[in-house]
Amino acid sequence: MAINWFKYSAPTNFYGLAGKLIPFFAWPAAVLFVIGLYIGFFVAPTDAVQSEAYRIIFLHVPTSILSMFIYLIMAGYAALGLIFNTRLSSMMAQALAPTGALFAFISLWTGALWGKPMWGAWWVWDARLTSELILLFLYLGFIALQASIEDPRRADRASALLAIVGSVNVPIIYFSVKWWNTLHQGSTIKFTGTSMHIAMQEAMFAMLVACWLYSIAVSLARVRSIILERERNTQWVNELKEVRS
Protein backbone atom coordinates (compact mmCIF):
# COMPACT_ATOMS: atom_id res chain seq x y z
CA MET A 1 0.00 0.00 0.00
CA ALA A 2 1.90 3.05 -1.23
CA ILE A 3 1.45 5.99 1.07
CA ASN A 4 0.38 8.95 -0.96
CA TRP A 5 2.34 11.66 0.76
CA PHE A 6 0.83 14.37 -1.30
CA LYS A 7 -2.73 13.47 -0.37
CA TYR A 8 -2.73 16.05 2.40
CA SER A 9 -0.96 18.75 0.49
CA ALA A 10 -4.23 19.56 -1.25
CA PRO A 11 -6.33 22.04 0.72
CA THR A 12 -9.41 19.87 0.32
CA ASN A 13 -7.98 16.96 2.31
CA PHE A 14 -5.86 19.07 4.63
CA TYR A 15 -8.92 21.04 5.76
CA GLY A 16 -10.53 17.94 7.23
CA LEU A 17 -7.29 16.56 8.64
CA ALA A 18 -6.46 19.86 10.36
CA GLY A 19 -9.92 19.95 11.84
CA LYS A 20 -9.44 16.51 13.40
CA LEU A 21 -5.89 17.31 14.58
CA ILE A 22 -6.61 20.54 16.45
CA PRO A 23 -8.03 18.89 19.62
CA PHE A 24 -5.00 16.57 19.73
CA PHE A 25 -2.76 19.60 20.02
CA ALA A 26 -5.03 21.95 21.96
CA TRP A 27 -5.84 19.71 24.94
CA PRO A 28 -2.30 18.45 25.60
CA ALA A 29 -1.15 22.06 25.37
CA ALA A 30 -3.66 23.10 28.06
CA VAL A 31 -2.72 20.17 30.30
CA LEU A 32 1.01 20.83 29.93
CA PHE A 33 0.42 24.50 30.55
CA VAL A 34 -1.23 23.73 33.91
CA ILE A 35 1.51 21.24 34.83
CA GLY A 36 4.21 23.74 33.90
CA LEU A 37 2.58 26.47 35.96
CA TYR A 38 2.09 24.12 38.91
CA ILE A 39 5.73 23.01 38.94
CA GLY A 40 6.92 26.51 38.24
CA PHE A 41 5.01 28.09 41.10
CA PHE A 42 4.69 25.37 43.73
CA VAL A 43 7.52 22.90 43.26
CA ALA A 44 10.37 25.11 42.08
CA PRO A 45 12.24 26.63 45.05
CA THR A 46 12.63 30.33 45.68
CA ASP A 47 15.70 31.64 43.94
CA ALA A 48 18.47 32.92 46.19
CA VAL A 49 19.18 35.99 44.08
CA GLN A 50 15.78 37.32 43.05
CA SER A 51 13.38 35.33 45.25
CA GLU A 52 10.08 35.11 43.37
CA ALA A 53 10.63 37.39 40.37
CA TYR A 54 12.63 34.74 38.53
CA ARG A 55 9.43 32.71 37.93
CA ILE A 56 8.80 34.93 34.94
CA ILE A 57 11.48 33.00 33.02
CA PHE A 58 9.07 30.05 32.73
CA LEU A 59 7.19 32.23 30.28
CA HIS A 60 9.97 34.47 28.96
CA VAL A 61 12.35 31.76 27.81
CA PRO A 62 9.80 29.47 26.06
CA THR A 63 8.18 32.40 24.23
CA SER A 64 11.58 33.72 23.11
CA ILE A 65 12.66 30.30 21.83
CA LEU A 66 9.34 29.78 20.08
CA SER A 67 9.25 33.24 18.50
CA MET A 68 12.55 32.43 16.81
CA PHE A 69 11.55 28.82 16.03
CA ILE A 70 8.24 29.85 14.45
CA TYR A 71 10.00 32.43 12.26
CA LEU A 72 12.25 29.73 10.84
CA ILE A 73 9.33 27.34 10.33
CA MET A 74 7.42 30.17 8.65
CA ALA A 75 10.36 30.88 6.34
CA GLY A 76 10.54 27.16 5.59
CA TYR A 77 6.88 26.96 4.59
CA ALA A 78 7.27 30.16 2.60
CA ALA A 79 10.23 28.70 0.72
CA LEU A 80 8.27 25.51 0.03
CA GLY A 81 5.37 27.55 -1.28
CA LEU A 82 7.68 29.61 -3.49
CA ILE A 83 9.63 26.66 -4.91
CA PHE A 84 6.89 24.08 -5.35
CA ASN A 85 4.06 26.53 -5.95
CA THR A 86 1.99 24.72 -3.32
CA ARG A 87 -0.65 27.18 -2.18
CA LEU A 88 -1.14 25.35 1.11
CA SER A 89 2.46 25.95 2.22
CA SER A 90 2.06 29.69 1.69
CA MET A 91 -1.22 29.60 3.58
CA MET A 92 0.53 27.82 6.44
CA ALA A 93 3.26 30.50 6.48
CA GLN A 94 0.58 33.19 6.58
CA ALA A 95 -1.17 31.36 9.41
CA LEU A 96 2.00 31.08 11.50
CA ALA A 97 3.02 34.75 11.28
CA PRO A 98 0.54 36.28 13.77
CA THR A 99 1.24 33.57 16.37
CA GLY A 100 4.97 34.10 16.00
CA ALA A 101 4.58 37.85 16.31
CA LEU A 102 2.49 37.43 19.47
CA PHE A 103 5.12 35.17 20.98
CA ALA A 104 7.76 37.79 20.20
CA PHE A 105 5.59 40.43 21.85
CA ILE A 106 5.04 38.30 24.97
CA SER A 107 8.75 37.60 25.11
CA LEU A 108 9.48 41.35 25.05
CA TRP A 109 6.75 42.11 27.58
CA THR A 110 7.89 39.45 30.04
CA GLY A 111 11.51 40.46 29.39
CA ALA A 112 10.71 44.02 30.40
CA LEU A 113 8.74 42.98 33.48
CA TRP A 114 11.52 40.62 34.50
CA GLY A 115 14.20 43.22 33.79
CA LYS A 116 12.64 45.81 36.09
CA PRO A 117 13.27 43.93 39.37
CA MET A 118 16.48 42.33 38.12
CA TRP A 119 18.23 45.19 36.32
CA GLY A 120 16.17 48.05 37.66
CA ALA A 121 14.91 49.32 34.29
CA TRP A 122 11.89 48.49 32.16
CA TRP A 123 13.94 48.28 28.99
CA VAL A 124 17.56 47.22 28.94
CA TRP A 125 19.47 47.20 25.65
CA ASP A 126 20.46 43.64 26.31
CA ALA A 127 21.61 41.70 23.23
CA ARG A 128 18.82 39.15 23.48
CA LEU A 129 16.04 41.65 24.10
CA THR A 130 17.24 43.90 21.27
CA SER A 131 17.40 41.00 18.82
CA GLU A 132 13.93 39.97 19.93
CA LEU A 133 12.67 43.48 19.17
CA ILE A 134 14.18 43.30 15.66
CA LEU A 135 12.59 39.88 15.19
CA LEU A 136 9.22 41.46 16.03
CA PHE A 137 9.87 44.08 13.33
CA LEU A 138 10.61 41.30 10.83
CA TYR A 139 7.30 39.64 11.72
CA LEU A 140 5.43 42.93 11.34
CA GLY A 141 7.13 43.49 7.97
CA PHE A 142 6.01 40.06 6.80
CA ILE A 143 2.42 40.57 7.95
CA ALA A 144 2.29 44.13 6.53
CA LEU A 145 3.55 43.01 3.12
CA GLN A 146 1.16 40.06 3.06
CA ALA A 147 -1.76 42.32 3.98
CA SER A 148 -0.97 45.13 1.54
CA ILE A 149 -1.09 43.03 -1.62
CA GLU A 150 -4.59 42.17 -2.85
CA ASP A 151 -3.80 39.33 -5.21
CA PRO A 152 -3.23 36.32 -2.90
CA ARG A 153 -0.79 34.64 -5.26
CA ARG A 154 1.53 37.64 -5.47
CA ALA A 155 1.09 38.30 -1.73
CA ASP A 156 2.22 34.74 -0.94
CA ARG A 157 5.22 34.82 -3.21
CA ALA A 158 6.34 38.32 -2.24
CA SER A 159 6.09 37.68 1.51
CA ALA A 160 7.78 34.31 0.98
CA LEU A 161 10.77 36.03 -0.58
CA LEU A 162 10.83 38.51 2.30
CA ALA A 163 10.71 35.67 4.85
CA ILE A 164 13.63 33.92 3.15
CA VAL A 165 15.69 37.11 3.00
CA GLY A 166 14.72 37.75 6.64
CA SER A 167 15.74 34.30 7.80
CA VAL A 168 19.14 34.68 6.10
CA ASN A 169 19.59 38.00 7.91
CA VAL A 170 18.49 36.84 11.36
CA PRO A 171 21.83 35.21 12.31
CA ILE A 172 23.70 38.26 10.98
CA ILE A 173 21.48 40.57 13.04
CA TYR A 174 21.84 38.41 16.17
CA PHE A 175 25.62 38.39 15.78
CA SER A 176 25.99 42.09 15.14
CA VAL A 177 23.67 43.01 18.03
CA LYS A 178 25.67 40.74 20.35
CA TRP A 179 28.88 42.40 19.10
CA TRP A 180 27.36 45.84 19.56
CA ASN A 181 26.14 44.95 23.06
CA THR A 182 29.36 43.48 24.39
CA LEU A 183 31.23 46.42 22.87
CA HIS A 184 29.25 48.96 24.86
CA GLN A 185 28.11 47.32 28.01
CA GLY A 186 29.85 44.06 28.58
CA SER A 187 27.46 41.14 28.82
CA THR A 188 24.87 41.61 31.51
CA ILE A 189 24.59 38.93 34.20
CA LYS A 190 23.51 35.69 32.64
CA PHE A 191 20.73 33.83 34.42
CA THR A 192 21.80 30.47 33.09
CA GLY A 193 25.07 30.91 35.01
CA THR A 194 23.43 29.69 38.21
CA SER A 195 22.77 25.95 37.91
CA MET A 196 19.02 25.50 37.46
CA HIS A 197 17.21 23.36 39.97
CA ILE A 198 15.69 20.19 38.42
CA ALA A 199 12.16 21.47 39.08
CA MET A 200 12.93 24.67 37.20
CA GLN A 201 14.09 22.70 34.17
CA GLU A 202 10.96 20.54 34.29
CA ALA A 203 8.71 23.60 34.48
CA MET A 204 10.60 25.30 31.65
CA PHE A 205 10.36 22.21 29.45
CA ALA A 206 6.67 21.72 30.16
CA MET A 207 5.92 25.34 29.33
CA LEU A 208 8.01 25.13 26.14
CA VAL A 209 6.13 22.09 24.85
CA ALA A 210 2.82 23.62 25.95
CA CYS A 211 3.50 26.81 23.99
CA TRP A 212 4.69 24.79 21.02
CA LEU A 213 1.54 22.63 20.91
CA TYR A 214 -0.56 25.73 21.43
CA SER A 215 1.06 27.45 18.45
CA ILE A 216 0.40 24.40 16.26
CA ALA A 217 -3.24 24.25 17.32
CA VAL A 218 -3.82 27.97 16.73
CA SER A 219 -2.02 27.95 13.40
CA LEU A 220 -4.01 24.94 12.18
CA ALA A 221 -7.23 26.67 13.17
CA ARG A 222 -6.16 29.86 11.41
CA VAL A 223 -5.07 28.02 8.26
CA ARG A 224 -8.52 26.44 8.07
CA SER A 225 -10.08 29.90 8.01
CA ILE A 226 -7.59 31.01 5.37
CA ILE A 227 -8.53 27.98 3.26
CA LEU A 228 -12.21 28.88 3.59
CA GLU A 229 -11.49 32.47 2.59
CA ARG A 230 -9.36 31.60 -0.37
CA GLU A 231 -11.29 28.64 -1.72
CA ARG A 232 -14.65 30.32 -1.42
CA ASN A 233 -15.49 29.83 -5.08
CA THR A 234 -14.69 26.14 -5.16
CA GLN A 235 -17.23 23.39 -5.23
CA TRP A 236 -15.91 21.44 -2.24
CA VAL A 237 -16.11 24.42 0.10
CA ASN A 238 -19.76 24.97 -0.65
CA GLU A 239 -20.43 21.27 -0.13
CA LEU A 240 -19.02 21.47 3.41
CA LYS A 241 -21.55 20.67 6.09
CA GLU A 242 -20.67 23.81 8.06
CA VAL A 243 -21.58 25.95 5.06
CA ARG A 244 -24.66 23.99 4.21
CA SER A 245 -26.16 24.06 7.72
Binding site: I134, F137, L138, L140, G141, A144, L145, S148, I149, R153, R154, R157, A158, L161, L162, V165, G166, V168, N169, I172, I173, F175, S176, V177, W179, W180, L183
Partner: protein, 227 residues
Protein backbone atom coordinates in the same frame (compact mmCIF):
# COMPACT_ATOMS: atom_id res chain seq x y z
CA UNK B 1 24.74 44.37 -33.93
CA UNK B 2 26.99 42.36 -31.63
CA UNK B 3 25.29 40.98 -28.56
CA UNK B 4 25.56 43.37 -25.63
CA UNK B 5 28.05 42.16 -23.01
CA UNK B 6 26.95 42.09 -19.38
CA UNK B 7 29.17 45.02 -18.53
CA UNK B 8 27.83 46.82 -21.57
CA UNK B 9 24.30 46.23 -20.26
CA UNK B 10 25.32 47.47 -16.82
CA UNK B 11 26.82 50.63 -18.32
CA UNK B 12 23.79 51.17 -20.53
CA UNK B 13 21.28 50.95 -17.66
CA UNK B 14 23.50 53.06 -15.42
CA UNK B 15 23.91 55.80 -18.04
CA UNK B 16 20.19 55.78 -18.80
CA UNK B 17 19.13 56.08 -15.18
CA UNK B 18 21.66 58.78 -14.38
CA UNK B 19 20.56 60.71 -17.46
CA UNK B 20 16.91 60.44 -16.42
CA UNK B 21 17.76 61.51 -12.88
CA UNK B 22 19.76 64.49 -14.07
CA UNK B 23 16.70 65.69 -15.97
CA UNK B 24 14.79 65.78 -12.70
CA UNK B 25 17.64 67.07 -10.53
CA UNK B 26 15.20 67.98 -7.75
CA UNK B 27 14.93 64.33 -6.67
CA UNK B 28 18.65 64.06 -6.06
CA UNK B 29 18.66 67.28 -4.06
CA UNK B 30 15.69 66.29 -1.92
CA UNK B 31 17.56 63.24 -0.62
CA UNK B 32 20.59 65.38 0.13
CA UNK B 33 18.63 68.19 1.76
CA UNK B 34 16.65 65.69 3.84
CA UNK B 35 19.93 64.19 5.08
CA UNK B 36 21.41 67.58 5.96
CA UNK B 37 18.22 68.68 7.67
CA UNK B 38 17.83 65.55 9.78
CA UNK B 39 21.45 65.76 10.96
CA UNK B 40 21.12 69.47 11.75
CA UNK B 41 17.94 68.91 13.74
CA UNK B 42 19.66 66.80 16.38
CA UNK B 43 21.70 69.51 18.10
CA UNK B 44 18.52 71.60 18.32
CA UNK B 45 16.76 68.76 20.02
CA UNK B 46 19.58 67.47 22.17
CA UNK B 47 21.37 70.67 23.11
CA UNK B 48 24.63 72.25 22.01
CA UNK B 49 27.08 70.62 24.50
CA UNK B 50 29.97 69.80 22.24
CA UNK B 51 31.33 66.72 23.98
CA UNK B 52 27.93 65.05 23.95
CA UNK B 53 27.44 65.94 20.30
CA UNK B 54 30.83 64.54 19.44
CA UNK B 55 29.88 61.25 21.07
CA UNK B 56 26.56 61.11 19.22
CA UNK B 57 27.84 62.28 15.86
CA UNK B 58 28.43 58.96 14.12
CA UNK B 59 25.12 57.49 15.24
CA UNK B 60 23.18 60.55 14.11
CA UNK B 61 24.88 60.73 10.72
CA UNK B 62 24.38 57.02 10.11
CA UNK B 63 20.71 56.98 11.08
CA UNK B 64 20.13 60.02 8.88
CA UNK B 65 21.94 58.27 5.99
CA UNK B 66 19.71 55.21 6.49
CA UNK B 67 16.52 57.31 6.43
CA UNK B 68 17.67 59.40 3.47
CA UNK B 69 18.40 56.36 1.32
CA UNK B 70 15.01 54.87 2.28
CA UNK B 71 13.39 58.04 0.99
CA UNK B 72 14.40 57.57 -2.63
CA UNK B 73 13.95 53.79 -2.79
CA UNK B 74 10.40 53.61 -4.13
CA UNK B 75 11.46 55.70 -7.11
CA UNK B 76 13.98 53.08 -8.15
CA UNK B 77 11.43 51.08 -10.17
CA UNK B 78 8.20 53.07 -9.93
CA UNK B 79 8.87 55.43 -12.87
CA UNK B 80 9.66 52.56 -15.26
CA UNK B 81 6.83 50.47 -13.79
CA UNK B 82 4.31 53.26 -14.41
CA UNK B 83 5.06 53.77 -18.10
CA UNK B 84 5.66 50.11 -18.91
CA UNK B 85 9.38 50.28 -19.73
CA UNK B 86 10.05 47.94 -16.82
CA UNK B 87 7.95 45.32 -18.58
CA UNK B 88 9.92 45.77 -21.77
CA UNK B 89 13.17 45.53 -19.84
CA UNK B 90 12.06 42.25 -18.32
CA UNK B 91 11.12 40.89 -21.74
CA UNK B 92 14.50 41.81 -23.19
CA UNK B 93 16.77 38.74 -23.64
CA UNK B 94 19.23 40.19 -21.14
CA UNK B 95 20.10 39.11 -17.63
CA UNK B 96 17.60 40.79 -15.33
CA UNK B 97 20.02 40.58 -12.40
CA UNK B 98 22.64 42.72 -14.16
CA UNK B 99 19.92 45.13 -15.20
CA UNK B 100 18.79 45.42 -11.58
CA UNK B 101 22.42 45.83 -10.54
CA UNK B 102 22.61 48.77 -12.93
CA UNK B 103 19.56 50.32 -11.32
CA UNK B 104 21.01 49.74 -7.85
CA UNK B 105 24.28 51.40 -8.88
CA UNK B 106 22.35 54.36 -10.30
CA UNK B 107 20.33 54.67 -7.09
CA UNK B 108 23.52 54.50 -5.03
CA UNK B 109 25.18 57.20 -7.10
CA UNK B 110 22.17 59.43 -6.60
CA UNK B 111 21.70 58.84 -2.89
CA UNK B 112 24.57 56.99 -1.20
CA UNK B 113 27.49 58.72 -2.87
CA UNK B 114 26.30 62.33 -2.29
CA UNK B 115 25.59 61.47 1.36
CA UNK B 116 29.09 60.15 1.83
CA UNK B 117 30.63 63.21 0.18
CA UNK B 118 28.67 65.73 2.21
CA UNK B 119 28.98 63.84 5.51
CA UNK B 120 32.32 65.48 6.51
CA UNK B 121 30.74 68.91 6.26
CA UNK B 122 28.04 67.79 8.66
CA UNK B 123 30.67 66.13 10.82
CA UNK B 124 32.09 69.58 11.48
CA UNK B 125 28.76 70.56 12.99
CA UNK B 126 29.46 67.89 15.57
CA UNK B 127 33.11 68.91 15.93
CA UNK B 128 34.39 65.50 14.83
CA UNK B 129 38.15 65.05 14.60
CA UNK B 130 39.75 64.76 11.15
CA UNK B 131 40.56 61.02 11.35
CA UNK B 132 36.99 60.40 12.47
CA UNK B 133 35.71 62.30 9.43
CA UNK B 134 37.88 60.21 7.10
CA UNK B 135 36.63 56.97 8.64
CA UNK B 136 33.05 58.25 8.48
CA UNK B 137 33.36 58.83 4.73
CA UNK B 138 35.01 55.45 4.13
CA UNK B 139 32.40 53.66 6.26
CA UNK B 140 29.58 55.45 4.43
CA UNK B 141 31.10 54.56 1.05
CA UNK B 142 31.18 50.92 2.16
CA UNK B 143 27.80 50.89 3.90
CA UNK B 144 25.45 52.90 1.64
CA UNK B 145 25.71 50.45 -1.28
CA UNK B 146 24.35 47.75 1.02
CA UNK B 147 21.42 50.03 1.85
CA UNK B 148 20.70 50.47 -1.86
CA UNK B 149 21.00 46.76 -2.56
CA UNK B 150 18.74 45.55 0.25
CA UNK B 151 16.48 48.51 -0.55
CA UNK B 152 16.22 47.31 -4.14
CA UNK B 153 14.73 44.03 -2.91
CA UNK B 154 12.23 45.98 -0.79
CA UNK B 155 11.38 48.33 -3.66
CA UNK B 156 10.85 45.41 -6.04
CA UNK B 157 8.59 43.61 -3.58
CA UNK B 158 6.39 46.64 -2.96
CA UNK B 159 6.16 47.68 -6.62
CA UNK B 160 2.95 49.44 -7.41
CA UNK B 161 1.47 49.15 -3.91
CA UNK B 162 -0.23 52.15 -2.41
CA UNK B 163 1.63 53.27 0.68
CA UNK B 164 4.70 51.59 -0.81
CA UNK B 165 7.11 54.23 0.52
CA UNK B 166 6.43 53.53 4.18
CA UNK B 167 6.19 49.81 3.56
CA UNK B 168 9.66 49.68 1.99
CA UNK B 169 11.16 51.28 5.08
CA UNK B 170 9.32 48.85 7.35
CA UNK B 171 10.64 45.90 5.35
CA UNK B 172 14.17 47.12 4.74
CA UNK B 173 15.26 48.97 7.90
CA UNK B 174 15.46 45.88 10.16
CA UNK B 175 17.68 44.23 7.54
CA UNK B 176 20.04 47.25 7.47
CA UNK B 177 20.68 47.23 11.23
CA UNK B 178 24.01 45.34 10.99
CA UNK B 179 25.27 48.02 8.56
CA UNK B 180 24.20 50.73 11.02
CA UNK B 181 25.89 48.96 13.94
CA UNK B 182 29.23 48.49 12.23
CA UNK B 183 29.11 51.80 10.40
CA UNK B 184 28.53 53.84 13.53
CA UNK B 185 30.87 51.48 15.38
CA UNK B 186 33.71 52.29 12.98
CA UNK B 187 33.63 55.99 13.79
CA UNK B 188 33.13 55.18 17.46
CA UNK B 189 36.27 53.02 17.35
CA UNK B 190 38.31 55.89 15.95
CA UNK B 191 37.11 58.26 18.69
CA UNK B 192 37.98 55.79 21.40
CA UNK B 193 41.29 54.94 19.81
CA UNK B 194 40.49 51.33 19.03
CA UNK B 195 41.37 49.76 15.70
CA UNK B 196 38.91 50.43 12.91
CA UNK B 197 39.88 47.45 10.77
CA UNK B 198 37.34 45.05 12.23
CA UNK B 199 34.34 47.35 11.70
CA UNK B 200 35.34 48.29 8.17
CA UNK B 201 36.04 44.69 7.23
CA UNK B 202 32.57 43.72 8.44
CA UNK B 203 31.07 46.50 6.30
CA UNK B 204 33.10 45.25 3.35
CA UNK B 205 31.91 41.71 4.00
CA UNK B 206 28.26 42.84 4.08
CA UNK B 207 28.78 44.72 0.82
CA UNK B 208 30.27 41.72 -0.97
CA UNK B 209 27.62 39.40 0.46
CA UNK B 210 24.88 41.77 -0.71
CA UNK B 211 26.59 42.30 -4.08
CA UNK B 212 26.47 38.57 -4.76
CA UNK B 213 22.88 37.89 -3.72
CA UNK B 214 20.67 40.97 -3.91
CA UNK B 215 20.65 41.48 -7.71
CA UNK B 216 19.33 37.94 -8.16
CA UNK B 217 16.86 38.24 -5.27
CA UNK B 218 15.65 41.63 -6.50
CA UNK B 219 15.21 40.18 -10.01
CA UNK B 220 13.09 37.37 -8.52
CA UNK B 221 11.11 39.95 -6.57
CA UNK B 222 10.50 41.89 -9.80
CA UNK B 223 9.27 38.75 -11.54
CA UNK B 224 6.91 38.09 -8.63
CA UNK B 225 5.58 41.65 -8.65
CA UNK B 226 5.21 41.90 -12.39
CA UNK B 227 3.37 38.61 -13.01
Amino acid sequence: MKKLSLLGLLGLVLRRDLLLAMRRRADVLTTLIFFVMVVSLFPLGVGPEIDMLRKMASGVVWVAALLASMLSLPRMFSADYADGTLEQMMLAPQSLSVLVLGKIAAHWMLSGLPLALIAPVLGLQFDMSVPALWILVIALLLGTPVLSMIGAVGAALTLGLRGGGVLVSLLVLPLCIPVLIFGAGAVEAVNSGMSVVSNLSFLGAFMLFALVFTPFVAAQALRISME
